[in-house]
């Protein structure tokens, strides 16, 4: 790697600006706005509560439960899809447009382009998650108030701490999201096909969920990504159970880092023949 003439931050800024100029970016973000709305409308329209879901019993007691229940449901397909929509496209779109040769014949090194793309995809994934949680929290608060949460251990948590824990849950949730982002980037880099990368990422996520419900494969469940999407629940226990969070961190890293390393090596050495 040579000393760069262009700062990676500059390339990252342009990657984000490119995302901001594309419609697909807003499809995911619009979903992050709409899904909480739909959930809230369904709660308002019906007296029932979701079953087998954390905070189901207290879902109408405080608006702060809304983002948490939303996070639980979002793990099934929503967040993997929103993440894959952009991360699966971020390199493949350059192949599709033939623009990889355009940006690789300037003064930025390949590694910088790759790093900027990874950071932009992670920014988007995290941004969509934060938007989802913010919208859920605000709308939940408007309809059911900002009252303290009752922890999963049955104890009441103060308002300030409740908000802090919702923030913490968001960060914990970001761990497997980053892993899904990394898988999508690998597929985007190696398949050079946006649709293939997005669909395959989603399929892998669904396959892991299926594996997680096969009782004969119980030993595997702690190491599957869908399980890590529930790690945040450890924060909502009294005392806090850090075990699932720590596991989510290393299991997500176990998926994410090799995928990124593979994608990085591939991107650095690949022939740019299209366009």
């Amino acid at each position: 790697m040579s000393a760069a003439a262009v700062h990676t931050r500059t390339i990252y800024t342009w990657e984000v600006r490119k995302l901001a100029a594309q419609k697909r970016t807003y499809i995911g973000l619009a979903c992050a706005l709409l899904v909480p709305l739909i959930f809230i409308v369904s709660l308002l329209a019906d007296d029932g509560s979701p079953e087998g879901v954390p905070f189901a019993d207290t879902v109408r007691e405080t608006g702060l439960t809304i983002p948490l229940v939303g996070l639980f449901f979002g793990a099934f397909w929503f967040f993997p899809l929103v993440t894959a929509l952009v991360a699966g496209d971020i390199v493949a779109a350059e192949d599709g447009h033939g623009t990889l040769k355009t940006i690789l014949t300037r003064s930025a090194d390949r590694w910088q382009i790759f790093v900027a793309k990874v950071l932009a995809a992670l920014t988007y994934s995290f941004g969509a998650l934060v938007l989802f949680v913010l919208v859920s929290t605000v709308l939940g608060g408007i309809f059911w108030g900002f009252d303290p949460l009752v922890s999963l251990s049955g104890t009441e948590i103060s308002m300030g701490r409740s908000l802090l824990l919702v923030g913490g849950a968001t960060l914990a949730y970001a761990l497997p999201i980053f892993a899904v982002t990394s898988i999508a980037i690998l597929l985007s880099t190696t398949t050079k096909n946006s649709a293939a990368a997005v669909v395959t990422t989603l399929m892998l996520s669904l396959i892991m969920q299926l594996l997680g419900i096969v009782s004969a494969l119980d030993f595997l469940r702690p190491y599957l990504l869908p399980q890590q999407f529930n790690a945040w629940q450890g924060l909502l226990r009294e005392p806090i159970d850090w075990g699932p969070i720590v596991r989510a961190a290393w299991v997500s890293a176990l998926y994410g880092i090799p995928c990124l390393a593979w994608a990085f090596a591939h991107f650095l050495r690949r022939d740019v023949t299209g366009g």
Partner: protein, 312 residues
């Protein structure tokens, strides 16, 4: 002085196919260099290797002494251009696209956007999305993108392909202007007239191999020395020509004589003919056009044809 481009033994294989087969190229600073070959001859693959977009299976390429595969983007300092059609982000305006590539160039590239747009006559359409651009406008935008780098070496791959006659004329005029400004230009093309019009040195490539590399006028000169002659008495003139010093290959046909010799020998022959009372109706030097040479070298057995001219 370091060559602008120095490629040695470039090879690129795709399975059974050898797209580029031990290509050597030397483009000196200030050259307007034509890289001429039929479609599928390996020109674009060679250009991609020069720019570090493709890894050669063998050989190396250096731009001003720097290898892009070893030194990365730093080796492309002062180098710009495009391979195949220039590509931009269709969802961004031309202006935004140029701002983006200028950001990837760093330095004062951004300050050159106005001038570059003006040079390619796109100032009035700079805020339109590239999605709505015609092929010709995209080609011009490609040149604008290249100019942002304030290049010393410009690599252009078939820059007039797909352009209408006016667009081709404008593009050639632009390349002329840039060359006059002192830029080294490597122009890949399959259009003989374009290369003849713009270039002073050429490489002719076929089936992945360079069959000629050198000055264009030297290439043309390799076919000089043959003359078509018509006289008042061709049969007698042929007898005199066969005896004349320095004259070879005399043939007679209904159209007249055909013979080989240098200018001095031919001048003496005209005097001999005059002394013999034979009038000269026509004396026409016969040189092959680039197009004839190109077909001679690229059609049939390239291996057999190439050494008869100038070794590549």
């Amino acid at each position: 002085m370091t060559a602008a481009i120095e490629a040695r033994g470039l090879v690129k294989r795709y399975g059974e196919l050898t797209a580029v087969d031990h290509v050597d190229l030397t483009v000196r600073s200030g050259d307007v260099y034509g890289y001429l070959g039929p479609n599928g001859a390996g020109k674009t693959t060679s250009l991609r290797m020069l720019l570090g977009l493709i890894r050669p299976d063998e050989g190396s390429a250096k731009l001003f002494g720097h290898d892009p595969l070893v030194e990365g983007a730093r080796a492309l300092d002062g180098v710009a251009g495009f391979v195949e059609a220039p590509r931009f982000y269709p969802y961004l305006s031309a202006r935004k696209n140029l701002e983006l590539v200028a950001a990837l160039d760093g330095g004062d590239a951004k300050d050159r956007i106005e001038d570059a747009l003006e040079t390619v006559d796109l100032t009035g359409r700079q805020h339109d999305k590239v999605r709505g651009y015609s092929h010709g406008m995209k080609q011009r935008l490609g040149i604008a993108g290249a100019l942002l780098r304030d290049p010393r070496l410009l690599l252009l791959d078939e820059p007039t392909t797909g352009l209408d006659p006016a667009g081709m004329r404008d593009m050639r005029a632009l390349v002329h202007r840039l060359a006059e400004d002192g830029l080294t230009v490597l122009l890949s093309s399959h259009l003989m007239s374009e290369v003849e019009d713009l270039c002073d040195r050429v490489a002719i490539v076929t089936r992945g191999r360079v069959v000629y590399e050198g000055a264009l006028d030297e290439l043309i000169a390799t076919t000089a020395g043959r003359y078509d002659v018509r006289t008042t008495d061709d049969a007698e003139a042929a007898l005199i020509a066969r005896r004349a010093r320095g004259i070879r290959g005399v043939t007679v046909s209904r159209a007249g004589l055909s013979l080989e010799g240098d200018e001095t020998a031919v001048a003496h022959l005209t005097l001999d003919l005059a002394q013999a009372g034979i009038g000269l109706r026509a004396l026409v030097p016969r040189t092959a056009t680039l197009e004839e040479l190109f077909f001679r070298m690229t059609e049939g057995s390239a291996d057999a044809e190439a050494p008869a001219l100038v070794p590549a």
